[in-house]
Amino acid sequence: MSDITALEERLTFKQRFARFFFSQTMLLIFIVLFIAISIASDKFLTSRNFFNIIRQSTVLGMMACGMTIVIIGKGIDLSAASILALCAVVNVMLQKYGYFTSVTTAILVGTACGLINGYLIGKVKANFIIVTLGTQILFTATALIISGGRNLKSRPEPLFSYIGDESILGIPVMGYFLAATFILFGILLHRTISGRKLFATGLNERAARVAGINTSNIIMTSYIINGFICSVASVVLTSRLPRVRVGTASEYLFDVITIVVLGGTALTGGVGGIVKTLVGLGIFAIITNGMSLLGIPYEFQQMIKGIVLVLAVLYDEFNRRKRLLY
């Protein structure tokens, strides 16, 4: 690798530019798509549509933040969506005891779910895919049992629906939730000790342990945080929907993973970041929204999503190699 070592020092402007250009692939894709769609549909750049996009991507975005953390810790949480569902159900069922109770309980439940995952993966060291696969089924089932699978009626309480419907300074309240989450997670991940330790753990657990990092705690924490943010997302979700049911969330899982990976966070752990995820979310959101604006039939929407995912990652990989040349 001495070659790379040597060239680092002698970067011409052209090289620096190329380096930047090729490292910001996804951002470029986002911009291109943005322009393309706004040309294709005149409805795209309306404030109402902007509202829709934010509304529709808030929950996904919040979950994506949590997932980013888990994936950077060299894991993945297939139970995220089920946690969302479980919390939503709990939240709605307890609303009759007041919103404070219901929301806090929901958040506690979500965190507890994260704890279960974290304990089994971090401490017991069981395989994370199978564990979260198991808990996914477990949480969904629990949600079903307590909800009786009914369309639970979320009694819209002023403050509560306020989150879902109102807007401040022309930006929906949910938007602020989204922004807050991203900023918070950005700081947590890139500016705190635990964040740094998480990266170390994700890159090389053994070295991290030698460096005095209690890796099993770090991993456990990452899942707990994920559980927590899922529960918060569930509150936002329930505030938006008059009715909640378990099926609600099950679709979200792969979308969330797609978003994170689109952003460029590597499933191999230790590489990635919140900003990347934000870009990923952007791409995902405008594609989904753009397609339904253009009235593309459902089945093809799915297909296009898939194709875009693959192409985007291909293109990124291609540029990664390019990048090494410069």
Binding site: T140, G149, L241, R243, R245, G247, S292, L293, E299
Partner: protein, 338 residues
């Protein structure tokens, strides 16, 4: 070490089965000499708010008759369902009721079981009719007629528009999960009704999308429809209440007022009936899971009792609209929010 392992596994199994299955077993033993056992194969509990009250009612009905009821959940997979039906046969039940995951796919297993048991074992379909609907191997069908429901809804819209002297509407259709027969039936039923009433030119389809019976998908979809078509949008034909509710919610967010866009539902869920009261929804078709379950059990009881039953045993699916919403509200509330 291996001992520990074994013990652990055994415990987990027994534990999970015990607390999960214990209840029924006891009940079964309670009754006297000839214990009747019936099986019911459900399609996908998780994804439908309908099947839960339905299952509850089934249990109640079984208790009343002091039957032992074995229910299975196919998790939305037709092959799993076929397997479970065969499992029920191996378990040795006296009769099987089937709510098919897939109308066409279910036929094969029905035929298979019929052959294996030389037609000794009575089977009926419930809620979802097989495709083709008339099967020699099947004793009959019990439940709603989702095709007729589709027609009902079509008819209602046509009449409503004619009464109000509206001669043309631009509408979007929010479908049930793509590929599921209820969705297909309600889609076709609607169109056929419109056809038969010679009102085809009254309805101009803007867009049709499957929203998977899911309120939030329908809500998101509607938000996009509103953005795309704006005031052109006069009516949204929804395949069930869940989606209808999502649609109404989207309309409310977008600052519409009741009646601006005609929305319907199907099932008669509480929220929907409330929306009808408030004028957000035009009407819904009341398909009571309890009644549905009861119909199935009644039919099966007759069959086991040796009575002959007609092939088609339809349940009542009355229309709920502004006029009778008040009266239905307590009924549906009791039913869904139990």
């Amino acid at each position: 070490m291996f001992k520990k392992l074994t013990i652990f596994i055994v415990l987990v199994f027994l534990a999970s089965f015990a607390f999960a299955g214990g209840g029924q077993e006891a009940e079964g033993a309670a009754s006297g000499e000839k214990q009747i056992t019936v099986g019911f194969s459900l399609p996908f509990i998780e994804d439908s708010p309908y099947t839960f009250p339905f299952a509850e009612s089934l249990r109640r009905e079984a208790k009343e008759r002091n039957w032992k009821l074995i229910m299975t959940d196919a998790g939305g997979d037709i092959n799993t369902q076929s397997n479970q039906i065969e499992d029920l046969v191996s378990k040795g039940v006296d009769g099987i009721m089937i709510m098919p995951v897939d109308a066409a796919g279910i036929v094969a297993v029905i035929k298979r079981v019929y052959e294996e048991t030389d037609g000794e074992l009575p089977m009926i379909c419930s809620n979802v009719m097989p495709d083709p609907p008339e099967l020699d191997e099947l004793i009959g069908f019990a439940g709603p007629n989702s095709y007729l429901e589709g027609k009902e809804m079509g008819k209602y819209y046509v009449n409503y528009l004619r009464e109000n002297g509206i001669d043309k509407v631009n509408y979007c259709e929010s479908q049930g999960t793509a590929g599921y027969s209820a969705a297909i039936d309600r889609h076709n039923g609607f169109l056929d009704a419109v056809e038969e009433l010679g009102a085809s030119d009254m309805f101009n389809l803007l867009d049709t999308q499957p929203c998977d019976w899911s309120p939030d998908k329908a809500q998101a979809q509607t938000e996009n429809w509103i953005t795309t078509y704006g005031d052109k949008l006069d009516m949204i034909y929804s395949h069930n209440d869940g989606m209808g509710i999502g649609i109404v919610n989207a309309l409310q967010d977008a600052g519409y007022s009741p009646g601006d866009v005609l929305v319907n539902g199907c099932d008669g869920q509480t929220q929907a009936v409330e929306y009808i009261k408030e004028g957000w929804m035009l009407f819904t078709v009341f398909q009571s899971p309890a009644e549905d379950a009861a119909t199935a059990m009644r039919t099966m009881e007759k069959i086991l009792g040796g009575e002959s039953v007609p092939y088609w045993n339809y349940m009542e699916t009355p229309i709920i609209n502004g006029d009778n919403a008040e009266d239905y509200l307590p009924i549906v509330t009791e039913l869904w929010e139990q």
